[in-house]
């Protein structure tokens, strides 16, 4: 629902990062981790990125989204790891059950809600060589 503002926040973070750690080649892809609990359309996020990146140093780059599955920590039995899912015919995805898969107790979500850039795919040739 908030793909434009989130794409903007990602772009701001990346611009700041590139200001401190410049890359010497065209950025072709930007790799993003997206927690699966976020109610966020990957398609809309990619489109927002394409539009917002225009005129910046990452113009033309593609946003590649890696969905990060939910991980929980169980306060009862100490389990830490992935959860079980529930799905049904007609649903287009499975929903994570926020309970411990071992002892079924209520579990704390430790992964699956974040959105951050984790990597870039960059051309080997420097930008000025490509232009020639």
């Amino acid at each position: 629902m908030h793909e434009y503002s989130l794409a903007h926040a990602l772009l701001e973070g990346l611009t700041e990062h590139l200001g401190q750690h410049p890359v010497h080649g065209r950025v072709r892809a930007v790799h993003v981790r997206k927690g699966e609990l976020l109610i966020l359309s990957e398609e809309a996020l990619g489109e927002a990125w394409r539009i917002l990146a225009e005129g910046t140093e990452v113009a033309g780059s593609e946003l590649r989204v890696e969905k990060v599955p939910v991980k929980v920590r169980c306060p009862s039995c100490g389990y830490e790891g992935p959860v079980k899912y529930v799905s049904e015919e007609g649903w287009h995805f499975a929903v994570p059950l926020l309970a411990c898969p071992q002892c079924q107790a209520r579990a704390e979500v430790i992964e699956g809600r974040d959105l951050a850039i984790v990597g870039l795919s960059v051309d080997d040739a420097p930008l000025d060589h490509q232009a020639a």
Partner: protein, 214 residues
């Protein structure tokens, strides 16, 4: 082409920090706060008023923040009901966030309340991604929205603490079986509590208070 590892900050980190700040504020003032989310017109405001009536009988002082896109209708209802209230318009935004709530709390008379209900904007999608710093969530839906309301919004209901299925007095008129909503919720959220309510008559209000631990 080569790949570079980059670690930018989680864009939700700021939201979580602000929510934590609100949480601490509630704790420091000994106020128990709840994020009341739900469908448009599901009866959130009246249910909060009913909860407040019952709590008042127990000597518990209740406050409310009325979150809406525009207007002060809910705020007026809270005030008329004797609640300490604040109005929080989002402009065009479809949900409350910790930042906005934090500002509303700056001038809130914490000394006058023991329990605070923060009524979110009517919406079953976006509020799930924006924690406010409350100790618990209550989601309100009503039978008049249809018996598929839970399954249509699985991520919202998978993360909720308590669900109120409201307007159950109208179930037979709209041909909806409230238990279909309850069953869907239990499948999606094994630890969630669910209560059937009819805010008009007050049915289920005591059970809802118990589910919220109040």
């Amino acid at each position: 082409m080569h790949d570079i590892r980059v670690g930018t900050e989680d864009v939700f980190k700021r939201q979580i920090e602000l929510a934590s700040r609100n949480y601490k504020l509630f704790q420091d003032h000994g106020v128990r706060a709840f994020n009341v989310m739900g469908a448009i017109g599901s009866g959130k405001t009246l249910l909060i008023l009913r909860l407040a009536e019952r709590l008042k009988e127990k000597g518990v002082r209740v406050g409310a923040i009325a979150g809406d896109v525009a207007g002060d209708d809910d705020f007026q209802r809270f005030t008329a009901g004797g609640l300490v209230a604040a109005n929080l318009n989002t402009g065009d935004d479809c949900h409350l966030d910790a930042h906005r709530v934090g500002h509303a709390l700056e001038s809130f008379p914490f000394g006058d309340v023991d329990v605070l209900f923060i009524e979110n904007v009517g919406n079953l999608v976006c509020p799930a991604d924006f924690p406010l710093g409350t100790e618990g969530d209550l989601v309100v839906i009503s039978v008049t929205e249809g018996d598929d309301m839970v399954r249509k919004h699985p991520k919202m209901f998978a993360q909720t603490d308590v669900l109120a299925v409201n307007k159950v007095d109208l179930a037979s008129f709209v041909g909806v079986d409230p238990m279909a909503l309850v069953d869907d919720y239990r499948r999606l959220n094994p630890h969630g509590k669910v209560v059937l309510t009819d805010a008009k008559s007050g049915r289920g209000v005591d059970e809802l208070l118990a589910a919220l631990g109040l």
